[in-house]
Every structure is written in structure tokens, then in C-alpha cells.
Symmetry: C2
Subunit: 361 residues, 2 copies
DNA sequence: TCCTCTTGCAGAAACGTCTCTGTCAACAGT
DNA sequence: ACTGTTGACAGAGACGTTTCTGCAAGAGGA
């Protein structure tokens, strides 16, 4: 009586288990597992037979059971520091979207999936998912989540140089200081006399290092710093800050904006003040958005290469998970790219790509 | 001898298990489980004691074991149909980013996390993660992944009306046809005589329904359709298509662009042809991007309300997962919002319709 | 013929949790 | 005093895999 139960139980629950496959194929559980996972010493005939039966029954191995047994879930956490009550900033900055996309691709290519998790340590969510490792974007100084994960022996790789003594496994970042210095030099070479900066009020590494580099550059060339800060997470505050910057008595003749929307904000502000770009005002902003290629005029942007960063972060993380001594450095600096467009070139050859061919052209 | 082993084993593996907590607290496993999960009949003293011991040992319940036992993983899949070889379109359209963000928030608020998965049925990844349900954005006609999931009894909710006989649990979508008709009426009311459309070559529901609505409207008002198609996934193709549209002999005096970047593309194209917006050309595009608020001129956009959609999709899905008969309809239509800006409003003083300045004018 | 080695497969023990089913004491009701 | 009830906990399966160990049978060598 009780002997008939096991085979029943499997099918009663809806999905077929490995036991059902074994019974249907007339082999043992071991053989099924080996056949499907390509392990063990089995003749091809048996392997084919088992696979066929498994297909016929629509067998799907239980991920939970496998994870429990092997200790590997194939899941990687992805978390972004939060500014407001929303868990993410995907929308505000194309950077995050690009980075996340690249990270997802890279993870999938190696058989892992990404789980989006809140930066806040919502215990119930974090502890309910078995993670093999975690990617942290812009971790704050003493992120409790990161420390917790590391204490559990889970690898953590951060996008952004960890501040303080944050014990990450590895990190990837740009050389933000070099990037800012490069832009300032670029603007100065284009004829800028007084370069302004649009920066943020938050204390993350990116903002801090970039602002510091700006101040350092000013000191070096003997220019008085001209900058405005605003809370970068507020989409409206950027326009106001841009306006403030151009309204100053010591109005700059060139501006670098640290955040993605600064380009359009500055352009709009310049228009309000009757400033022509690039003739009266040179403009550069840090952005991954393609809209700046078609604005009037096109705006020079600094790309942080989020795709390369996302890929690198995931590679490092998976190497750590799988215990591979990949030989890759655990601290990688990805070069930035300055995409020079009209807005930062004084009296450029005015022709852009194609001359107008319309009736009025 | 063998009695001492179990307690050792737990700590040897690094992380403390429920057994270790039970031993350290001097109670049984059952009591620990009940104490931590708030079940059973335990005096508060015992409960507190157990919790304290668990904290001291840094006990974290194994998500895999819990999932295996309870059958619930707290994980929701999120998948987007892919156009190219990249798994997503996050970047190209702010819509996806917004929607995903809202969905993530809503899921986290109810204790679930989102797993990003490829639309292609990469078997190794899909079957390696235990999903309680899945959100599918823009499923194609006979998506094999969806059918597979449904066959396994996993709820699937789609963003976008499922085409064909796709067996989803529920869906949420806009009324795209009504939205397009509304925009065309809006443009006509602003004085448009010949309205053009910038549409896509792909066969997804959004593109299909929108195009159909346009053609239908044209037929109704007796206008010859003027539209250009292009592969929406290609960021460069949009600019070319916009150019084509304005280069036509029967050049429209108003254009609606179905995709996010169309606004800037059309604006740039108009500039090349010396057309003033909105005087010579009225412009509307479907976008969630805020850049259109500060372009010159600001462009009227149609918002599909991705945040509301993302939230609704997740609520429906979790209701289905938890077996709640929420009373919510399983087919929800979210209204769109037309954000009217300068680009679609003819200047008030101009009472007469401006004569078309083209060859056929 | 006997021993050894390999092949092909089966048994059974984990992995760590939840939960159903007890058990034992104390205590109240008749 | 005997039984029924309730509170407080313990025992012992599952859940569905993977994998270590082991057994039988045949192949090959001496």
C-alpha cells in the first residue's frame, strides 16, 4: 500500500519530479540525474532514452532543490543606492539603465540571472533570496548591507570605488578626477576664460571626486571657482540650478554639468539669457543619452562607458563566485570618453553632417 | 559519538543553521522555527530568547531550503521582448526603465524581488530560478516561454494586450487606438491639414494598433496617409526616417512619432528643412522622457503612464500568486496622458491656417 | 579458473527548512 | 480520583535534488 504512494505523490503535485522520470524510464534516480546533467558513466543510449522520457513528461528540475543541494543559485543581486523613497534612479540617469543592461547581458551569458534588490536593508526581501554574489552600484560609506553580505561570505563587487573601509571583493570605476581635468583642459583650449560647474549636494564618491578635481584645477590655473550645487535626484532642481549659475554676476563662459539632464537644462537657461552656444557659452555635460547628438546645437558629452563597467563588474563577480583566479585586477579603472560636439568648440566648421536638402535649403 | 556531529556540521559550513540556534538556545528546531516565524503557541519569554540567540549567532535562514519546503520563492521574473541580440531595450525607451522601476517598487513593497530574464528561452537560466510568477513586457504572438510557464502553472501577467491566443493570467495595457485618435484630433484642432506618422516596422501590438488607428482616422477624415516606417530598435534609423518623412513631396504639416527619440529626431529634421515648430510643423511624440520639457520649443508628448502600468501588473501578478481574488479586473486599461506643450499649439494670433510651404502646397 | 579492472547503474545520505503529529505536564470539571 | 482540555514543546518526516559509495556483471590477463 504505502509503496504505491511515492510515484503518486509526484504527479499529484502537478509537476513531474525526477522520481517520476526515473520510474517512467525504468531507471534509477541517479541515472536520471547523471543523464540530464551529462555526468556519470552512461552509454549514449541510456542518456538519450532518459532525456526523451524527461521531455515527454515535461520534467523541469526544481531550482530550489538544486540550490539547496549544490549551494549555488545562479542568482546575482543588483542594488542601487537610493536617493528618495523610490528604490532606484534608473530613469533619471541613463547611466544606470545602460549599466544594468550590460550587467544583465554579461550575467546571462555566463548562466546567471540578476535580481533587483533595494539598497535599504529590507530584511525580509534580502534574506528570502539565495544569492551567489551581489553587484552594488555607488555604495555609501558604511553600507550595512554590504558588510552583512561580506560577513556571510558572499562576494560583493561595486560599481564605484568604495569609500571608507567598505570591504568589497572588487570594484570597477572611472578615473573621475582625470575625466574632469580633461574636460576643463578641453574647455580652456577652446577659449574658455571662466569655467563653471553644475554639481550635486550629495556626498557620493562621484560627486565628491569630481567637485574636488574641479576645485583643484581652479586653484592650479588661478581661476575663482564658479559652481552651483543642487540635489541631483530632483529633476526640477537641475533647471533652477542651471539658471542660478548663469544668473551670477561672475557668469561663467563655459560650464560642465555633472549630471545627465544638465545639458538640456543649461541649454534652456542659456536661451533664456540670450546666450548663444557655443559662441557665448561653452557646454559639456556628463551623459549617456543620445539626445545630445541632435540638440541645437549638439552638446559635447562625457561618457562613463557604463556598458564596459557593467560587463567588467559582472565578470569580476562571477570569477569570484566560481573561485577563478582570473588574473584580472580586482580594481579596474575604465577610461571615459569625451564625445566632442559643437557645444564645446568655439567657431567650429559650421557644417554638421548633412546640409539641408529641402526646398528651403 | 555520532550525537555530537550534527551541531558541528552546521558551524563547520560557515553559516549557522536552525539546528545550531536550537542547540544554543536549548530548545528544539520546531521551537526555533515557530519563534522566528511568529507561529505556534510560545510564551513571549521563549520567543525573545530564541530571537536573541539567533541574532547572536548571525543566523540567516536558508532561502533555498525555505523555498523548497514552502514552494514559494518570493521571486518574480521580468522579461522584455528583444529586438537585437541585446536582451533589453531599457536604454532606447525610457518607458521600459520607468515601468521596470515601478514594478520593482511594487514588488518589493509586497515582499517580492524581481529577476531580470531574457526573452529568449535560454533554458539553463530560466529553469535555474524558482519563480512564483512572471511579468512579460510586450509578449510576441506565440511566445514559447509564456506557454511553457503557464503549462507549469506559473502565473503570467503581461504588459501589453496579448496577441493571438497567448494564455496569460492577466494583462494591463493602454488603449493605444484611442490615444492615437485623440492626438490626431488634437493636431487637427490645432490646425493641421495633413498629419504624418512616424512608425515602426516591427509587428508588436503597440505598433500595429497605433498604425491601424492612424490609417483608420485618415480614412474617416479623408486624408491620404503620410507615414514612414523604420526599425524602432535602431537608434540611427529614426533620424533617417524623420528626414524621409519631411522630404516627401506630400510633406505633412504635423507629425506624430510613435517612439521616444522621434521628438528630437523630428525637431532636428525640421531644422534642417528650415521648418519652424510649431508654425510650419506641429509635433507630438510618444515619450516618457523629461527632456521634451526643455527643448526649443518644448514638445508635446503622450505618456503611457508606465509607472501605473508597472504597478498594476505587479499587483495583479502577486494577487494571482497568493490566490487572492482581489476583485481587480484581470484586464486593465490604463489611460494615457497627453502633455501639451508648445510644439502642438499654433500661435493664438494666427487665426488663418498657414499655407503649406512645400512643393505641393 | 581465479583475480582484477571497468562499465553501468542503484541506494541512500545529505542540503536546511517547515509542519503535522505527537507527548507530557498541569489543571479544571464531574 | 478519573477524564478531558490546554499550553509548551519535541520528533520526525517531507520538499526534490545531487553525489558518494557500492554492487553486480562482463572483459581481459595470468
Amino acid at each position: 500500500m504505502s509503496r504505491a504512494e511515492p510515484s503518486r505523490r509526484g504527479s499529484r503535485h502537478g509537476r513531474a519530479g525526477i522520481r517520476d522520470v526515473a520510474a517512467a524510464a525504468g531507471v534509477s534516480i541517479t541515472t536520471v540525474s547523471d543523464a540530464l546533467n551529462g555526468k556519470g558513466r552512461l552509454p549514449d543510449a541510456t542518456r538519450r532514452h532518459v532525456r526523451e522520457v524527461a521531455d515527454r513528461l515535461g520534467y523541469r528540475p526544481s531550482a530550489a532543490a538544486r540550490t539547496l543541494r549544490t549551494g549555488k543559485s545562479g542568482l546575482i543581486g543588483l542594488t542601487v543606492t537610493t536617493y528618495g523613497d523610490e528604490p532606484f534612479t534608473f530613469t533619471e540617469f541613463a547611466y544606470f539603465a545602460e549599466m544594468a543592461r550590460a550587467a544583465t547581458s554579461a550575467a546571462l551569458a555566463r548562466g546567471y540571472a540578476l535580481v533587483i534588490l533595494p539598497a535599504t536593508s529590507r530584511h525580509d526581501v534580502w534574506s528570502n533570496v539565495a544569492l551567489d554574489g551581489t553587484v552594488v552600484i555607488d555604495p555609501s560609506d558604511h553600507d550595512p548591507v554590504v558588510s552583512d553580505l561580506v560577513r556571510q561570505g558572499i562576494p560583493v563587487v561595486s560599481d564605484g570605488r568604495p569609500a571608507g573601509t567598505l570591504p568589497v571583493t572588487a570594484w570597477v570605476d572611472n578615473d573621475h578626477e582625470a575625466a574632469v581635468l580633461g574636460i576643463l583642459d578641453h574647455l580652456a583650449a577652446a577659449g574658455a576664460r571662466r569655467i563653471g560647474l553644475l554639481t550635486g549636494t550629495s556626498t557620493d564618491t562621484y560627486t565628491r571626486l569630481s567637485t574636488h578635481a574641479y576645485l583643484h584645477w581652479c586653484e592650479r590655473v588661478g581661476q575663482d571657482p564658479v559652481y552651483e550645487k543642487y540635489p541631483a535626484h530632483d529633476p526640477c532642481a537641475g533647471a533652477v540650478a542651471a539658471d542660478r549659475l548663469l544668473a551670477r554676476p561672475d557668469r561663467p563662459d563655459a560650464v560642465y554639468g555633472l549630471f545627465d539632464p544638465n545639458g538640456t537644462d543649461l541649454l534652456a537657461a542659456a536661451r533664456r539669457y540670450g546666450l548663444r552656444v557655443p559662441d557665448d557659452l561653452l557646454l559639456v555635460c556628463c551623459s549617456e543619452s543620445t539626445v545630445y547628438a541632435t540638440t541645437e546645437p549638439p552638446i559635447t558629452t562625457l561618457s562613463l562607458k557604463p556598458r564596459r563597467i557593467g560587463t567588467a563588474v559582472v565578470q569580476l563577480l562571477i570569477d569570484a563566485i566560481e573561485g577563478l583566479d582570473s588574473g584580472r585586477p580586482v580594481e579596474q579603472v575604465i577610461p571615459t570618453e569625451l564625445i566632442v560636439r559643437t557645444s564645446s568648440q568655439r567657431r567650429p566648421p559650421r557644417t554638421t553632417v548633412s546640409a539641408p536638402r529641402g526646398p528651403s535649403g
